[in-house]
């Protein structure tokens, strides 16, 4: 990831537009990216500063490239590099050794006189002799642990120029989000992934249903209710790769500009930014996949949709595996319980009880049931595969039970 010093954002008429290099707007950058990769691939043994200078030279005649962009590329290339950081403190030891040896001769003067007889040249020659290596070697290593002078050990790199540019674009988006105060995602699917990663990024959600299978999810941090704070910017930046991996969403983030105005950053899943994370799996398990295939899109008046609704109360949100919509408008949520640790089952029970005002049907594996358990009307027991008959019966029972909320 970049730091905020690398961020290049254009703020215009209330909009924040992070720097983005595309084949249309910046075709020449494909060539630059290839040359940068070449510099690093051939750069083992060179110092950070040398590599950065070499990258700067690539852009010497480019009219559309600010220093920050070059720095940002270097940062991303460095992120995929391994430098000799001198973890064992070779240079530091050498320094203390050399300074210790020179201390008695202080001050090292340019020309000897009656008061001070230790010249710089002589003292350095003496130390070199004592250490058994030329002074130039010693001086080169003296500060080899300073970041600028660390040497490249290995470059893992990016597969190709396109991958580097793609990473650059996402990194600039993330750097812009460091200034974000809140984010609103309008989503039409992949709810589980969205909510899971939002939680992992320690964000709170406010969910509103916009229509069947359409939700507005506002993400903020705990203290956001007290004041506008940029504290959670890094959380949004961490969340965004997961968002980019999902389908069918649009996003609007409120960003605080350097001059303290509010600007909005908007993006959709169709904007062509690619996450390094894989897209969410279509199904959580083979069991679900087989079931969906067997049921088909529609059967006996019931249409099947995968992960199509969110049920929520406060910060508890639950995305059932499937939603059945009857042609009369009835909606039944269907959750397949695949695991059977007692804690997991207890958690599921609690969730279902929390949302008992909704029609929820559970599929529970026979193995996980106590022999004497009373199986409720809204539970379908299965052995290895889900049978459609009992499920349809349960759906009809649910349809018959009272009004839809």
């Amino acid at each position: 990831m970049l730091t905020s010093e690398h961020a290049i954002v254009v703020y215009e008429r209330g909009k924040a537009v992070p720097d983005r290099l595309t084949r249309v707007s910046h075709v020449q950058y494909v060539g630059y990216a290839e040359r940068m990769l070449a510099v690093y691939r051939a750069g083992v043994g060179k110092t950070r500063r040398e590599l950065q200078r070499a990258v700067e030279r690539i852009f010497a005649d480019e009219t559309d490239c600010e220093l920050r962009r070059i720095r940002a590329f270097c940062k991303l290339l460095d992120d995929a590099s391994e430098y000799d950081t001198d973890r064992r403190g070779r240079a530091a030891r050498l320094r203390l050794q050399v300074f210790g040896m020179a201390a008695g001769s202080h001050p090292l003067v340019e020309r000897r006189d009656q008061l001070f007889e230790n010249t710089e040249a002589e003292v350095k020659a003496r130390i070199a002799e004592h250490l058994g290596r030329p002074w130039d070697d010693i001086e080169a290593e003296l500060y080899a642990d300073v970041i600028d002078f660390q040497r490249l050990k290995a470059f893992e790199g990016y597969p190709d120029a396109a991958a580097l540019l793609s990473r650059y674009n996402v990194a600039q988006l993330q750097a812009c989000l460091y200034r974000a105060e809140r984010m609103v995602v309008t989503a039409t699917g992949d709810f589980k992934t969205l909510l899971r990663y939002a939680k992992l990024a320690k964000l709170l959600h406010t969910i509103r249903r916009l229509g069947p299978g359409r939700y507005r999810i506002e993400l903020t941090g705990p203290a956001s209710v007290l004041r506008e704070t940029r504290r959670y910017g890094v959380c949004f930046a961490r969340f965004v790769p997961a968002l980019l991996a999902c389908r069918g969403w649009s996003m609007r983030a409120t960003v605080r500009t350097p001059w303290k105005a509010a600007a909005s950053l908007t993006l959709t899943s169709e904007d062509g930014l690619h996450s390094h994370l894989p897209a969410p799996e279509e199904f959580d398990s083979a069991l679900e996949e087989r079931f969906a295939a067997k049921f088909g899109e529609e059967r006996d008046g019931w249409r099947l949709e995968r992960e199509a609704e969110i049920v929520f109360k406060g910060q508890t949100a639950f995305v059932p595996d499937f939603v059945f919509r009857h042609e009369d408008g009835t909606e039944v949520l269907f959750e397949i319980v695949g695991f059977w640790t007692p804690e997991y089952l207890a958690g599921k029970r609690l969730t279902v009880r929390r949302f008992r005002d909704r029609r929820i049907v559970l599929a529970v594996p026979e193995r996980s049931l106590n022999p004497e358990a009373m199986v409720g009307e809204d539970v379908v027991v299965y052995k290895t595969a889900l049978k459609l008959g009992p499920l349809l019966e349960a759906l009809e029972r649910a349809r018959g039970s009272g009004e839809s909320p």
């Binding site: 290049i8 010497a60 005649d61 480019e62 009219t63 559309d64 490239c65 600010e66 220093l67 920050r68 962009r69 403190g89 530091a92 320094r95 203390l96 050399v98 300074f99 210790g100 040896m101 020179a102 201390a103 202080h106 001050p107 090292l108 003067v109 340019e110 008061l115 001070f116 710089e120 003292v123 350095k124 130390i127 001086e139 003296l142 500060y143 642990d145 300073v146 970041i147 320690k202 709170l204 959600h205 406010t206 903020t220 941090g221 705990p222 203290a223 209710v225 007290l226 704070t229 940029r230 504290r231 406060g314 910060q315």
Partner: protein
């Protein structure tokens, strides 16, 4: 402001539900109170309704104030789930007895309920006051320092004075103990998770606290007792006014001039102008011409074209980029003028046998000095052990000279040096004061000297003039070698 909307469960049966106060990521949350009681809740503190969680929320800093009010208002229904800070048992305590003004500061702080700021000049022993306060309160304490050197220094002082091996949070370490030392940056990041663990929080060099972000380190902390320490509370952005609410009122002030000559040694400021070499001068002027003529040519088309515009356009305009580079090269010539190394040699000769500390304006210059004279440096990346060896070697007389970039600007205890040489750096009142403080520690009757080595006829001269305007330089003698 958010108002509770819709019907909350509490309305059906507002009385009798338990009212629970808890710490939640740097904030306090109050559960079990519905809309019907919102007014009663707001009387107890600056609560806001948080619809996301169906509870009231406020910053953790209000803990002491809301706790009492809630206990009174909700009596039996109220439970406080914020964990009380741990008591601390000190090891072998060996603190010097406080001087009169130090005792005065401690008494004033205690009289203010353990909430307030102590403003005293550098070198007057603010650390001892904090250690005495910690000893007195014996409660879990977080000490927040500006940089990691200072954080480690606090660790050493706590170990030496109170016999307690404090936890360290910062510099890639995450070891939190009832007494912990940290930096402002780490405190900002981690306070959301740690804010309920401490009963006392001490902000060293408190003027770092009121920044837009960093202040959250204070807001997210539930500690009832707060101590702010500084020699220079003022900030150019005026935000120091907020220290009253973030820490507490100013409870004790001692002026620099009051300290001078009594606790501190007397000092001289000596300014040494150096000239650039002919080559440097030629290059300097050439670079200056590049910048000036570029700006002048742009101004023909664009009135008000200035340095900011130039920076903003350097991405699109290779010529602007060139001018930008010329400007930085020019500054670098000032910063690393060869003549400065020659003057250093003269000063080292003059003060042979005395401890001399050199402040460079950049890492590059610090390394230049180090390579030329083979003397140790403290750079921002130096590791803990090397810093310790360098500082102790300097204190013990092994190393005659110590070179630092801006790392040592504030508060780092340097073994009493009598001679400091500034060969570069930004002009700012605080930096000047802090730098002076480094060499002003009292040892016997000897006077301290601060040399400023500046390039003649360059911008550095203007910076030096600004530096001297600061209060700390008042009534000092200025002379030229």
């Amino acid at each position: 402001m958010y108002r509770p909307r819709g019907r909350s469960a509490g309305e059906a049966n507002p009385e009798g539900r338990p009212v629970r106060l808890s710490f939640d990521h740097g904030t306090l949350r109050l559960d079990g109170v519905g809309e019907g009681e919102a007014d009663a809740v707001r009387e107890t503190g600056p609560w806001l309704w948080d619809a996301r969680i169906g509870a009231f929320r406020c910053d953790a800093i209000h803990y002491a104030e809301v706790w009492g009010a809630l206990a009174e208002r909700f009596a039996d229904r109220f439970t406080d789930e914020v964990a009380p800070p741990k008591r601390v048992k000190w090891g072998k305590v060996s603190l010097p007895s406080l001087r009169r003004e130090q005792q005065g500061a401690l008494d004033a702080w205690l009289a203010a309920g353990g909430r307030g700021q102590v403003i005293m000049p550098t070198g007057t022993g603010k650390t001892e006051i904090a250690l005495a306060a910690m000893r007195h309160t014996s409660i879990a304490t977080l000490v927040v320092a500006p940089v990691r050197d200072l954080m480690y220094q606090w660790h050493r002082r706590i170990l030496r004075g109170l016999g307690y091996d404090a936890g360290i949070l910062g510099d890639s370490r995450h070891n939190v103990r009832p007494v912990t030392v940290t930096t402002y940056d780490s405190a900002y990041i981690h306070m959301a998770d740690l804010g309920d663990r401490f009963g006392l929080v001490a902000f060293d060099e408190e003027h770092h606290l009121p920044g837009r972000c960093r202040r959250e380190a204070a807001l997210f902390c539930a500690a009832a007792m707060r101590l702010g320490l500084t020699a220079t509370p003022e900030r150019s952005d005026g935000l120091h006014a907020d220290l009253d609410s973030l820490i507490g009122p100013v409870v004790y002030v001692q002026k620099v001039s009051a300290a001078k000559g009594r606790t501190l040694a007397d000092y001289d400021v000596v300014r040494i102008p150096v000239a650039l070499t002919d080559d440097e001068q030629a290059r300097y002027e050439e670079l200056g011409r590049i910048v000036r003529s570029f700006i002048a040519s742009r101004r023909k088309d664009q009135e008000g074209y200035d340095w900011q515009t130039l920076c903003a356009e350097s991405g699109k305009d290779p010529e602007a980029r060139q001018a930008q580079r010329a400007y930085y090269a020019k500054k670098s010539i000032e910063d690393r003028a060869a003549e400065k190394l020659r003057v250093l040699e003269d000063l080292f000769r003059l003060h042979a046998g005395e401890r001399v500390i050199v402040f460079a304006g950049s890492n590059a210059m610090a390394m230049d000095v180090s390579r030329r004279f083979l003397v140790p440096t403290l750079l921002s990346h130096s590791r803990k052990r090397e810093r310790l060896v360098a500082l102790e070697g300097f204190g013990g007389g092994t190393f005659p000279v110590l070179v630092a970039n801006r790392v040592l600007d504030e508060g780092v205890d340097v073994p009493a040096a009598k001679v400091a040489i500034v060969i570069g750096g930004q002009a700012s009142t605080r930096q000047a004061k802090q730098r002076l403080g480094r060499i002003l520690r009292r040892t016997g009757e000897a006077r301290a000297t601060l040399y400023e080595v500046v390039c003649e006829d360059t911008n550095e001269e203007a910076r030096s003039r600004r530096r001297r305007r600061s209060d700390a330089y008042e009534r000092t003698r200025h002379r030229r070698l």
